[in-house]
C-alpha cells in the first residue's frame, strides 16, 4: 500500500492506495471525482485524460504514486463555472451525444489551445486523434475548438 497526497484541482487528497493504483482510479474512487472516465484502461481511448502540471496525460497509465507532489487538473477543475471558452463552445455547438468521451476531449483540447491559440485542421487532428468518440461527434469537436479559438 502507498500513502500519497494528490493535489487535484487545487485541493489536497491524502489517500492510501495499492502501490500500482493508476491515477485514474485514485481520482475516481478515492477523491470521488467521477468526471474523468474509464474507457479502456490501457491508454488507447483517451477518456481518462487529465492535466499533470498542465500537460495532458492518460491517467489510466500514470501510477497515482508518481503524481504525488504534482498538480492534477481534471474536467471539474477546467473552470470555476463551466465557462472555459471550450466548455461554452461545446454547448453552443451541441457537441455531445452520449457524452462519455467529452471530458477527455475537452482536456485534450484545452491543452492544445494553451499551446496553440489558433490551431489548423492538421493541428487539431494531431492533438485530438488520441481521444476516441464512439458516437462520432468529431465534426462538432472540430467546430467547437475553432469557435473557442476565435472567441478566446
Amino acid at each position: 500500500m502507498a500513502n500519497i497526497t494528490l493535489t487535484i484541482n487545487e485541493t489536497d487528497y491524502t489517500i492510501d492506495v495499492l502501490e500500482d493504483t493508476p491515477l485514474l482510479w485514485a481520482i475516481r474512487d478515492e477523491a470521488g471525482l467521477t468526471g474523468t472516465k474509464f474507457g479502456c484502461g490501457k491508454g488507447f481511448c483517451g477518456s481518462c485524460t487529465v492535466h499533470l502540471d498542465g500537460v495532458p496525460v492518460r491517467s489510466c497509465l500514470i501510477p497515482a504514486k508518481s503524481a504525488d507532489g504534482a498538480k492534477v487538473t481534471t474536467i471539474e477543475g477546467l473552470s470555476e463555472e463551466g465557462d472555459h471558452p471550450l466548455q461554452k463552445a461545446w454547448v453552443e455547438e451541441d457537441v455531445s451525444q452520449c457524452g462519455y468521451c467529452q471530458a477527455g476531449q475537452l482536456m485534450a483540447a484545452a491543452a492544445l489551445l494553451k499551446e496553440n491559440s489558433n490551431p489548423s485542421d492538421e493541428d487539431i487532428n494531431q492533438a485530438m486523434s488520441s481521444i476516441m468518440c464512439r458516437c462520432g461527434t468529431y465534426s462538432r469537436i472540430r467546430k467547437a475548438i475553432k469557435r473557442a479559438a476565435e472567441n478566446g
Partner: protein, 733 residues
C-alpha cells in the same frame, strides 16, 4: 380529482390532482412494450408525468432512456409544444422504474414514432385545463384562448395569466377527450434548434453515468467470466486474490439463460473489494480452471464454412417469391453471382458495462445504464423471486447503447453478486477486455446473390442469406433484403439459420446493417456490368412515386412493410444533386458511390466521394447524406444522428471486426479493435427533408447505406468489388 370513464382506454386515462404546494400534477400512461416487443408492458397505472408548479416550472418525466440519441430532449419537446410551455422553464427528469412509474425501452428507432401522438395529446389536454382555469378567472368563454411561452392569452391578447398562477385551479377541471393539435406552421418548439438536455453537466464532469454512481457503503466487483460462451467453472483458487489489500470476498456466479444455449449471465467468479482497482487486482490473482464446453471446437472459419455449405442447399424459409427467379436465372444469358461475407461486429460502447445493485431478502435496488429498464425489472423479479413492487431500477445516463444495453444481463449479474455477498451494495464494472470478449455481437452473416441479366435489363434477383439469428428464425434477419422496393419481375429471397456458440444480439439497425450493404453492393455491380449509371439504375427500377406495401410471411408489423417510393427516390435524388453526381470527378484515382435504404418508413441515402492514394489508402473527401423521417422534432439532434452514423459506417468498412478461435474472442481492446478517430472524419453535407409526415425515427435509418456507398465509391475508383468486410485490402489514409 381524477377522471375515469369506462369508454376511455387505459392509454387515455389521465390522473390529475393539485399538489400540496399549489401546482398541477398530471400522471399518464405511455404505450408500453406491447405488440412490437417481446415482453408485454408491466401493469403500472402510470409511467410518466407532467407537473406545473406554482412558479410555472414544467417538469416532465421522460420515460425513455437517452443513450445519446436525444430522446430526453425530443420527447419533452412534443409535450411542451402542445402545452405552449416556455422551454426555458421546462425541466426533464429520467423516469425511474418502481411502484408508480415505469420505464420504456429505447430500441428500433421507435421512441419518436411511438410517442408522437400520446405525448402531444397530453400536452394538449393539459393546455385545455390551463385555458379552462384562465377563462374561468376572466369569466369568459374558453373559445379563442391560447397558450404560448408558459402563459394563457385571451382571444385579443389583452389578458395574460401565467401557468404558475393557474396550475392549482386547473386541477379542478375535466380533462377533454378530444383535443385539437397545433398545425406544424404554428410550431415554436418542435423543429427549432434546441440545446440538448444534459449538455452542461456533460462538459463540467457533473454528468453521472452508471459507472459514476456514488453510494454510501459501496463495494466494487470485477468478474472473471468463462472464456467461451459455453464455459463452466471446474474449480478455483482465490487465496492469492483474498490476500490483496482491499479485497473482501470472492463469490461464484452461475450462468443465467432464458433459453438453452443462449446464456445471458455467464458462469464466473466475482472478486469484491473496497475499490475498483483492488477488485481488478484481485481478479488478476484468481486461478480458475474452466471446462470450456462445446464452444471450444468452433472458430470463425468453421462458422463461415458452415454458412457457405448451407448456402448450397435451398433456403429453409422463403420470404419473397415473385415470378420465377430461379428458372429465370438458370436461363439468363448473363449471370452475376456474388458471395458476401460480413463479420461479427462489436458494440464498443465507450462507457463499459457496469451496474450497481443492492439486494436483500425482500427488496432490490439497481442503478444501471440501460436501454431497457422495464424489462430488467421483470427479469429481476423472476430471477431473484422478489416482487416487482419491491424492485427499484434507477436508469442512469448511458454512455452509448447501440443495442448492447437492450440486453439486461449485467443488471442480473450485479444483483446476483450482491445477493451472493450477503446483501452488500455492489458496483460491478467490466473492463474493456470483458466488453470486447463478452458482447452480444452483431451476427456474422453470409449471402449468395444471383442475378440474371438479359440485354440491358435485370431479369431476376435471388438472395439467400444465412446467419445465426437473434430470434428463432428469419423474423429479425430479413429486413432490407426481403422488402426490396425495386421493380424486379422475378425476386426470390430466402433465409437459413446456422448455430454458433458466439452470443449475438441487436446492433444498430439490426438486419439492415448487413442486408442494405449486400443489396446496394449487388445493385451497384449490376449497374456496372450493364454500363448503367447506378443513380439511374435505382431511380429506374424504383419506378413511379407511389406507396407500396410489401407483404412478408412474418408476424406483426414486420409482415407488412410500407414504403413510399416517392420519398425514397427523393432522398436519392437529393444526394445525387448535392454531390454533382453527373459531373466527372477531377482525378482518375477518385471514386463516387451511392446507396439508399428504407427503414420503417424513414428514408435515407448517401453519396461518398473518395480518393484512392498509393498503397490502397483511402481518403474520404466528402459524404453526402439525406434523411426523410417525417416531421423533425429536434433538428440538431437529428443532424447529430446522421453525423454519428457516418462515422459508424466508416468504422464498419475499415475497422469493426470480431473473430474467434476455439470459441474465444480474439480481440481485446482498442488496439486490436480499432475505431475511427477525428482524422478519419470527412467533410459532411447533410440534408434533412422537411415535410409533415408522421415522424418515423432517426437513430438507425441513417446508418445502413453509409458502408455500401463507401465500397461502391471504392469500386468506382478501382474496379474492385468489396464483398467482405472489413475491407482488408484498403486502409484509411
Amino acid at each position: 380529482m381524477s377522471k375515469s370513464n369506462s369508454t376511455l382506454t387505459r392509454l387515455d386515462f389521465l390522473k390529475i390532482s393539485a399538489t400540496a404546494t399549489g401546482g398541477l400534477l398530471v400522471s399518464f400512461m405511455l404505450p408500453g412494450c406491447i405488440s412490437k416487443h417481446k415482453e408485454p408492458a408491466l401493469d403500472y397505472d402510470f409511467n410518466a408525468y407532467l407537473m406545473v408548479d406554482s412558479h410555472g416550472y414544467v417538469t416532465i418525466k421522460a420515460p425513455v432512456p437517452d443513450m445519446g440519441q436525444g430522446t430526453k430532449t425530443a420527447l419533452p419537446m412534443m409535450v411542451a409544444e402542445e402545452l405552449g410551455a416556455d422551454w426555458e422553464m421546462v425541466k426533464i427528469i429520467q423516469a425511474e422504474t418502481g411502484s408508480e412509474f415505469g420505464g420504456q425501452s429505447a430500441a428500433g428507432s421507435d421512441s419518436v414514432r411511438d410517442y408522437w401522438n400520446p405525448l402531444r395529446k397530453v400536452g394538449a389536454q393539459v393546455r385545455e385545463l390551463l385555458i379552462a382555469a384562465a377563462a374561468t378567472k376572466w369569466q369568459i368563454s374558453r373559445q379563442g384562448c391560447t397558450t404560448k411561452n408558459g402563459k394563457v392569452y385571451n382571444p385579443t391578447g389583452s389578458k395574460i395569466l401565467e401557468f404558475g398562477v393557474l396550475a392549482e385551479s386547473a386541477a379542478e377541471f375535466e380533462v377533454p377527450d378530444e383535443v385539437v393539435f397545433k398545425s406544424p406552421s404554428e410550431y415554436s418548439i418542435i423543429g427549432k434548434q434546441i440545446s440538448r438536455v444534459d449538455a452542461k453537466d456533460i462538459i463540467t464532469g457533473k454528468a453521472r453515468y452508471g459507472i459514476d454512481v456514488i453510494e454510501p457503503d459501496l463495494y466494487y466487483a470485477s468478474v472473471e467470466h468463462a472464456p467461451t460462451f459455453t464455459g463452466e467453472v471446474v474449480d478455483y483458487d482465490d487465496s492469492d486474490a483474498l490476500n490483496i489489500p482491499g479485497v473482501v470476498e470472492v463469490v461464484k456466479i452461475n450462468q443465467v439463460a432464458f433459453q438453452p444455449g443462449k446464456p445471458e449471465v455467464l458462469n464466473g467468479i466475482a472478486v469484491i473489494a473496497n475499490s475498483t482497482w483492488a477488485a481488478f487486482k484481485g481478479r488478476e490473482a484468481l486461478k480458475v480452471n474452466w471446462d470450456l464446453g462445446d464452444g471450444v471446437r468452433e472458430s470463425s472459419e468453421d462458422l463461415l464454412i458452415k454458412m457457405q455449405n448451407r448456402s448450397k442447399d435451398q433456403p429453409a424459409d422463403i420470404l419473397r417469391d415473385q415470378g420465377n427467379a430461379i428458372e429465370t436465372f438458370e436461363n439468363a444469358p448473363k449471370k452475376i453471382d456474388l458471395e458476401f461475407e460480413l463479420p461479427l461486429l462489436a458494440h464498443a460502447c465507450l462507457e463499459p458495462i457496469n451496474c450497481t445493485a443492492w439486494v436483500n431478502s425482500e427488496s432490490c435496488k439497481v442503478w444501471v445504464p440501460t436501454q431497457n429498464p422495464q424489462f430488467l425489472v421483470r427479469v429481476l423479479e423472476a430471477v431473484l423471486q422478489i416482487e416487482a413492487d419491491k424492485i427499484d431500477v434507477y436508469p442512469t445516463m448511458v454512455g452509448g447503447g447501440f443495442g448492447r444495453r437492450l440486453a439486461i444481463d449485467y443488471g442480473i449479474e450485479a444483483a446476483l453478486i450482491s445477493r451472493a455477498a450477503g446483501g452488500k451494495k455492489i458496483k460491478m464494472v467490466w473492463n474493456r477486455e470483458d466488453n470486447v470478449k463478452h458482447d452480444y455481437y452483431r451476427t456474422a452473416n453470409y449471402h449468395r446473390v444471383q442475378i440474371g441479366l438479359d440485354d440491358a435489363k435485370l431479369t431476376s434477383w435471388s438472395h439467400h442469406l444465412i446467419n445465426k439469428p437473434i430470434g428463432g428464425g428469419p423474423i429479425y434477419e430479413v429486413q432490407g433484403a426481403a422488402d426490396l422496393p425495386y421493380n424486379f419481375s422475378n425476386i426470390h429471397v430466402g433465409y437459413s439459420s446456422v448455430d454458433s456458440s458466439i452470443r449475438i444480439g441487436s446492433w444498430r439497425s439490426v438486419a439492415h446493417s448487413f442486408n442494405t450493404f449486400v443489396v446496394n453492393s449487388a445493385i451497384d455491380q449490376v449497374a456496372r456490368e450493364l454500363d448503367i449509371d447506378p443513380y439511374e439504375f435505382h431511380q429506374t427500377y424504383l419506378g413511379n412515386p407511389r406507396k407500396i406495401t410489401i407483404e412478408l410471411p412474418l408476424r406483426g408489423y414486420r409482415g407488412q412493410v410500407a414504403c413510399d417510393i416517392g420519398r425514397l427516390k427523393e432522398v436519392i435524388r437529393m444526394v445525387a444533386e448535392a454531390s454533382d453526381w453527373t459531373k466527372p470527378l477531377t482525378r482518375n484515382n477518385m471514386g463516387r458511390g451511392i446507396a439508399c435504404t428504407h427503414f420503417k418508413e424513414s428514408y435515407a441515402a448517401h453519396v461518398v466521394v473518395l480518393e484512392v492514394l498509393s498503397n490502397n489508402r483511402i481518403k474520404i473527401h466528402r459524404i453526402y447524406a439525406a434523411l426523410d423521417c417525417g416531421i423533425i422534432i429536434d433538428p440538431n439532434g437529428l443532424r447529430a444522428q446522421i453525423e454519428g452514423a457516418i462515422m459508424d459506417g466508416i468504422s464498419t468498412v475499415f475497422y469493426n471486426n470480431i473473430t474467434f478461435s476455439n470459441g474465444q474472442i480474439d480481440q481485446s481492446n482498442f488496439n486490436d479493435l480499432p475505431w475511427t478517430r477525428i482524422t478519419n472524419c470527412p467533410e459532411m453535407d447533410i440534408q434533412l427533408v422537411k415535410n409533415t409526415e408522421v415522424p418515423t425515427g432517426a437513430g438507425e435509418p441513417p446508418y445502413p447505406s453509409v458502408a455500401p456507398a463507401i465500397t461502391n465509391a471504392i469500386c468506382d475508383a478501382t474496379g474492385i468489388r468489396i464483398k467482405k468486410l472489413p475491407a482488408k485490402e484498403f486502409t484509411l489514409a
